[in-house]
């Protein structure tokens, strides 16, 4: 199979044809930059925080955010990376090493936050004390803590935009999960600009890899020579998202373009969904303990911290 543009050996077959290494890299970068422009994800005078872990998605989005700033003459001092060390033994320490090396090689400032410093315990120690059901995995705790710390520290370091490495696969999964569970309120917060928008306490989250699949992102990192170890979170499980992921990959293998179709349909419906969904910005409170945004008097992160404090 040869590249449709130059006839050289192809590295991938996409819906519109085959591409060689050189033309795939061009195609991929162009798609990311078009996504940033189409959805106005990055502003000229904004300080930008990239949520990073050292995995394929975060290294790719970090590299391309920097490249986008350079190509658009936006000062690079506007950019920094932020990593949350959840305290998962034999996992996060490996990806952080890759991330530290990457940031050093590309002259990007890296800020680190540890859950242990913020909540008094690593995730490994905390979740059995927080989750009453001993069989329950820590993903609920991890998700709340990560979102809380990324927003809090992105804001603390002055960022107006929080770039994440969520890609087409992540979004297609999230859309289907919310549809299957009739979570229209949460679905209305998805999209290339996600979360609760236009609120002083929330840093706007944006997803430049929104239209890039897992396969395209991994291929890009491979062709660019980024060092990534395949490190699997010891808590990753065959949960609900995993089943949706398998279902979508089975469909994609049989019917190319399925994930893209889901995301495109969602983008067409999103304006209507946002209009009918309750305006979260009007109901957001401030946590009485930490002053961070909360849906109730005490935010979820502080509720967990209180349980932990009493249990330790």
């Amino acid at each position: 199979m040869n590249c449709e543009k130059c006839g050289k050996k192809a590295v991938i077959v996409l819906q519109h044809g085959s591409l060689c290494k050189h033309h795939f890299i061009d195609h991929f970068e162009s798609k990311v930059f078009k996504t940033i422009n189409r959805f106005q994800l990055i502003g000229r005078n904004e300080k930008i925080c990239v949520a990073a872990s050292g995995g394929k998605d975060s290294l790719t989005v970090l590299y391309l955010t920097k490249k986008y700033l350079q190509e658009n003459n936006i000062p690079l001092q506007n950019l920094f990376a932020l990593v949350v060390d959840e305290g998962i033994q034999n996992y996060r320490e490996h990806t952080i090493v890759d991330l530290e090396r990457f940031c050093k090689d590309h002259a990007i400032i890296l800020q680190k936050v540890k859950t242990e410093d913020e909540f008094g315990a690593t995730l490994d120690k905390a979740y059995p004390l927080i989750n009453k059901d001993e069989h329950k995995k820590p993903c609920n705790v991890c998700g709340v803590w990560r979102r809380y710390l990324l927003n809090k520290y992105a804001r603390k370091y002055g960022a107006e935009t929080l770039v994440t490495g969520h890609n087409l696969d992540d979004e297609a999964q999230a859309i289907m999960m919310n549809i299957f569970k009739a979570n229209t309120k949460i679905a209305a917060r998805l999209g290339p600009k996600s979360g609760i928008q236009e609120h002083d306490l929330f840093v706007q989250r944006v997803k430049p890899l929104y239209l890039c699949s897992d396969k395209e992102v991994r291929l890009y990192t491979l062709l660019k020579g980024f060092t990534i170890q395949f490190a699997e979170c010891p808590y990753s499980s065959a949960g609900y998202r995993h089943q949706i992921q398998e279902m979508l990959n089975d469909f994609e293998e049989k019917y190319t373009g399925t994930k893209q179709g889901i995301v495109n349909s969602f983008l067409a419906l999103l304006p209507a969904l946002k209009e009918t969904a309750p305006k979260a910005v009007e109901t957001i409170k401030q946590c009485s303990l930490c002053q961070e945004p909360a849906e109730h008097d005490v935010c979820n992160a502080c509720s967990m911290k209180e349980i932990l404090k009493n249990a330790l």
Binding site: K215, L222, F230
Partner: protein, 67 residues
């Protein structure tokens, strides 16, 4: 034919007897969804139509993050 496969996810290397022709057929034999992996030979990325050769050493890389 016999080929050697390194599976990144399993962190294992194994000899496999393969009676087909292409990478697509190999993934089918291994029951691996082509959407979830990249296959390389000598650090060169192979498309699914690529022909597998006798005594090939192939790497199967996961495209899905491990988190």
């Amino acid at each position: 034919m016999e080929i050697t496969i390194f599976n990144e996810r399993k962190k294992s290397t194994e000899k496999v007897h393969f009676s087909g022709t292409t990478i697509q057929e190999l993934l089918h034999q291994l029951k691996i969804n082509a959407e979830t992996v990249l296959v390389t030979r000598n650090n060169e990325v192979l498309t699914e139509e690529e022909i597998v050769q006798e005594k090939d050493t192939l790497e199967i890389l996961s495209v899905i993050s491990g988190g």
